[in-house]
């Protein structure tokens, strides 16, 4: 399981001035274990999922595979919805990033599928500085949920974060490993 806490993310703007930092999930299988434990997870897709290549594929292809593997509800932020529809996937909900964070803060919110609050929220592709602000909000004001930033730039305000992966190849391996392990394991 995670051993270290996040000290220095890729972007200096996201350096933590505080005492509670994310656990770094070095091994993708540990990340899968976190997902497997979740009862009502949500996956937030930011605008970079449709704009960022990871090798010869787009980031959204990987994120969708992760979501599909556990039928995780998807929230499409920014203008991601259009591209998702082109890919034949209908997001479960459409909010902008700050709005979904605002709703996640409220434990009494019914969640995007009406099943109550989400106990785990995954984030991919949200602009890194904005994602970090949203994660800070949830860290302080949403004790009822955990956050997992699936982002190679790493996020100290999340509960769980991918380590800084400068090389795209390593990032791709990480994502593929996660997807493979999701396929080989079952939710708890």
């Amino acid at each position: 399981m995670a051993s270290e806490t996040m000290v220095m993310p890729y972007y200096k703007v996201n350096v933590l001035t505080g005492s509670k930092a994310a656990k770094v999930i070095d091994v993708p299988a540990d990340g899968v274990a976190i997902i497997n434990k979740a009862k009502n997870p949500l996956y937030v897709f930011g605008e970079e999922v449709i704009a960022t290549p990871v090798g010869d594929r787009l980031l959204i292809d990987f994120a969708l595979e992760i979501a599909k593997s556990r039928d995780i509800a998807i929230c499409a932020t920014a203008h991601v919805k259009k591209k998702m529809l082109e890919l034949g996937v209908k997001p479960d909900s459409v909010y902008d990033i700050i709005e979904i964070v605002h709703f996640l803060k409220m434990k009494e919110w019914s969640g995007v599928r009406g099943k109550g609050f989400h106990d785990l929220v995954l984030f991919t592709g949200v602009r890194c500085d904005l994602a970090e602000r949203g994660l800070a909000t949830l860290k302080h004001f949403a004790p009822h949920l955990k956050t997992f930033a699936i982002c190679r730039r790493s996020h100290p305000n999340a509960d769980f974060a991918v380590p800084v992966l400068v090389k795209v190849d390593k990032w791709r391996e990480y994502l593929e490993d996660m997807i493979r392990t999701l396929g080989a394991t079952k939710p708890a």
């Binding site: 200096k12 932020t77 909900s93 700050i98 964070v101 904005l130």
Partner: protein
């Protein structure tokens, strides 16, 4: 606190017996007078906090860790600490504008006397709608503007006091105080801009102001070149006067960066706008300026060093930014010029006329000697400087708060390809952190000289107040909703993506018949995009305050005129009394005037303060992603919220079930999302069915354009089937059926007066 003595003082200051309107309930409101209004707003639009720092280090009990539900040694919790920080930042903004106004007004009183009349021309009778509404005074002379600034100063001390440890401790009260600071800021903006319009003869009562040149490539550096940086154009205007008096106007190049350039081009259209704040460091490093003149606000603090490096002279002109320089205000100009030229000394000169003389004489002397330093880097030179970069250490990327791919751009430049660096330039805010981190000391900002396109553009110079006659024309369609909204793009140039996104947003709205206004750095950025025929939006759209038109109101202080226009709609069109009637007017704006402010490149405390002030008036604000670092927004619970308001005619509470306006301050991630959000924030409860149909038509068309479908929250904003735009009728009806939509009430006089404790009687909302 009010006392009899203070009340009598206020009555004298506002000339209460002057019969233009009866004095309303809140002349010169104190911290407490509008608190109930604030708490009412905050009950619908709760503060949303995104802490930027988990610690507090304000006093020596600290550092205190406020993570999660911890409290500091003083007892403060995380939400209140965020709110306190917001108040502190808003106070910085108010102080910057207030001190600016104070300087401008004192300068003009010294020059013309306090009885100097304020005359804004034949088209503007309601001369100072903000000051009338907040203070209750009709501005007739410079003395009245000084009264306005003195009121700001008086309130200010109480607000600063509340930030001390062991003072205010509740986040909602901090927010109410931040609103108060924002409102004071708007008073200061209006006082400052009216003073400079009257005192310097800036355009007023004319819409069709001149088109001025913009862009860093516009500067003709073969001439002696003076660059003015900042927001207070007193010295810049004195430079123009000096040039005119000495037959040098046109022979010396004067260009400005940031708002001083707006105001100097309002004074002399032959002056040039180099660009927004984000291009300040880039430009100063080119060495094209022979003399750099700094005034105040958003001025880079390493200008003395940059000027030295390029062999330019440098004169500071504000007591707010003295840079440790000798104050030469009392010394003879000849002596100063000699030391500037012979010893490369830099000076602080607070006497604008003396500063102007020194600046111009130094520029004339220096220009012929500096031609070598005015040469821009060639591609070959830039490639040689970048050659050491392998693009792999990425220290530049990691330190870039604009999250730009600097490493790849510099690496490619090293190989002679400047395309990517050109793209980086368009998104860069010129902080210089990348080159500071570079292990190979590559001068990245200088490399951009070889990559940045030297395009030049046309921007309409700032036009100042919106005319009363324009308000009469658009008041009704705005309130009915048939003009879909009034949008103001204000603020700085900390843009999330390309600098021309503001132009894209402005045009998307103008072509949908919104009234689009711009100010400050946003107004400059909006000029930086041309259509296929080479025209900027200022050349393409009519500069009137009307549907489908585009207006540049002017510098940051001119933002007051758009808020002023919203007030004037209530006062002139709806004939509501505005004198000392803050809540009545704000309630009208909140419920009826479809206005929205946008700060797409937010960076300064001033922009935060302006935005916070706008919210107190009932005007929602949409921010670009960097706005999340302000750490506070105001958001409703949307369909989960309580949207009960009063029907002013029946005096009954009505659950409208309609989240309009949806949020009062919100960040959006992309320009596409911003477009649909801005459109939505212009919905008002008062929209008539035809008006709402027009607004929904815009919303649906924009949403389809950027998201590919009907809006997911359409059911929240369709009240009856009469609201459905005809073009989309069939699909909207099918969608509403699918989601189980139910009709909602349409009110003819929605108001929140009467839903909280206030001195304003509900009858006052009916006219």
């Amino acid at each position: 606190m009010h006392s009899k003595i203070r009340d009598a003082e206020i009555r004298a200051l506002i000339r209460a017996d002057d019969p233009w309107e009866p004095v309303g309930p809140t002349p010169m409101p104190t911290l407490m007078d509008l608190r109930n209004w604030d708490l009412r707003l905050l009950s619908t639009y709760e503060p949303f906090y995104a802490p930027f720092c988990d610690l507090c280090c304000l006093c020596t009990y600290g550092k205190c860790d406020l993570t999660e539900d911890r409290k500091g040694a003083c007892g403060i919790d995380m939400a209140s600490q965020q709110a306190r920080w917001i108040l502190i930042c808003c106070l910085m903004g108010t102080a910057a504008h207030g001190a600016h106004g104070r300087h401008m007004i004192d300068y003009l009183i010294e020059k013309y006397g306090e009885d100097f009349p304020i005359n804004l021309g034949t088209q503007v009778n309601v001369e100072a709608p903000i000051i009338r509404t907040v203070l209750g005074v009709k501005v007739e002379t410079l003395r009245d503007l000084r009264t306005a600034i003195e009121y700001v100063e008086r309130e200010f001390i109480h607000l600063v006091s509340a930030t001390h440890t062991g003072q205010e401790g509740n986040y909602l009260d901090f927010e109410s105080k931040a609103f108060h600071a924002g409102m004071l800021d708007h008073v200061a903006l209006e006082a400052a801009d009216i003073a400079q319009i009257a005192g310097f003869g800036y355009p007023t009562s004319v819409a069709d102001t001149p088109l001025v040149d913009l862009g860093w490539g516009i500067m003709d550096s073969t001439k002696p070149t003076i660059v003015v940086v900042g927001h207070n154009a007193v010295t810049a205007n004195a430079i123009i006067d000096y040039l005119r008096e000495h037959d040098l106007y046109g022979k010396v190049e004067v260009g400005g960066i940031c708002c001083t350039s707006h105001d100097v081009t309002r004074y002399a259209s032959g002056a040039k706008v180099i660009g927004p704040l984000s291009q300040q460091r880039f430009f100063l490093k080119t060495g094209l300026a022979d003399v750099v003149v700094t005034d105040e606000q958003c001025v880079l603090l390493d200008i003395p060093q940059m000027a030295k490096e390029t062999g330019a002279a440098m004169i500071a002109c504000s007591d707010k930014i003295s840079y440790g320089l000798e104050n030469a205000s009392e010394r003879p100009a000849d002596e100063i010029v000699r030391e500037v030229l012979e010893e490369q000394k830099q000076f602080l000169i607070l006497d604008p006329q003396k500063a102007a003389e020194v600046v111009v004489r130094a520029a004339l002397e220096l220009a012929p000697k500096r031609s070598a330093q005015k040469q821009l880097l060639t591609e070959a030179e830039a490639a040689a400087l970048a050659a050491k970069c392998r693009g792999t250490c990425e220290l530049c990327n990691r330190t870039c708060n604009s999250l730009l791919p600097v490493a790849a751009a510099v690496h490619q430049a090293g190989q002679g390809n400047f395309t990517k660096l050109g793209e980086v330039f368009r998104r860069c805010h010129g902080c210089g952190r990348c080159e500071q981190e570079c292990i190979n000391q590559i001068p990245i900002l200088r490399l951009m000289q070889a990559a940045a396109a030297r395009d030049t553009f046309k921007m309409r110079s700032g036009r100042g107040p919106i005319h009363d006659v324009e308000i009469r024309k658009v008041g009704s369609p705005i309130v009915l909703g048939t003009i879909p909204g009034v949008v103001l793009f204000a603020g700085c140039s900390n843009f999330p993506q390309d600098i021309d996104d503001v132009a894209w947003l402005a045009e998307e709205l103008a072509r949908r018949k919104y009234i689009v206004n711009l100010s400050g750095c946003a107004a400059m950025a909006a000029a930086m995009k041309k259509d296929d025929e080479g025209r900027t939006i200022y050349e393409k759209y009519i500069p009137e305050f009307d549907a489908g038109c585009i207006v540049n109101v002017g510098s940051c202080v001119a933002n007051c005129h758009v808020v002023g226009a919203a007030i004037k709609i209530a006062n002139i069109f709806a004939t509501l009394p505005n004198r000392a009637n803050y809540e009545l007017i704000s309630d009208y704006i909140l419920n009826r005037v479809g206005a929205c402010g946008v700060v797409w490149g937010p960076y300064s405390q001033k922009a935060l303060c302006i935005g916070t002030g706008a919210v107190r008036w009932g005007i929602p604000i949409v921010l670009g992603p960097h706005g999340s670092k302000y750490r506070r927004l105001y958001m409703s619970k949307k369909e989960m919220g309580d949207w009960t308001v009063m029907d002013g005619r029946t005096k009954q509470l009505v659950d409208t079930g309609e989240p309009t306006p949806e949020h009062m301050m919100v960040v959006t991630e992309s320009k596409e999302r911003a477009l649909v959000t801005i459109i939505k924030q212009c919905f008002r409860r008062n929209d008539t069915p035809p008006g709402r149909a027009i607004k929904l038509n815009s919303y649906i068309s924009a949403y389809k354009q950027v998201m590919g479908t009907l809006p997911d929250d359409l059911q929240n904003f369709v009240r009856t089937d009469k609201d459905i735009p005809i073009v989309y009728k069939r699909e909207v009806v099918a969608y509403l059926k699918e989601v189980g939509w139910q009709p909602k009430p349409v009110l003819s006089l929605p108001t929140i007066i009467g839903t909280y404790e206030t001195k304003v009687p509900i009858e006052a909302t009916i006219k």
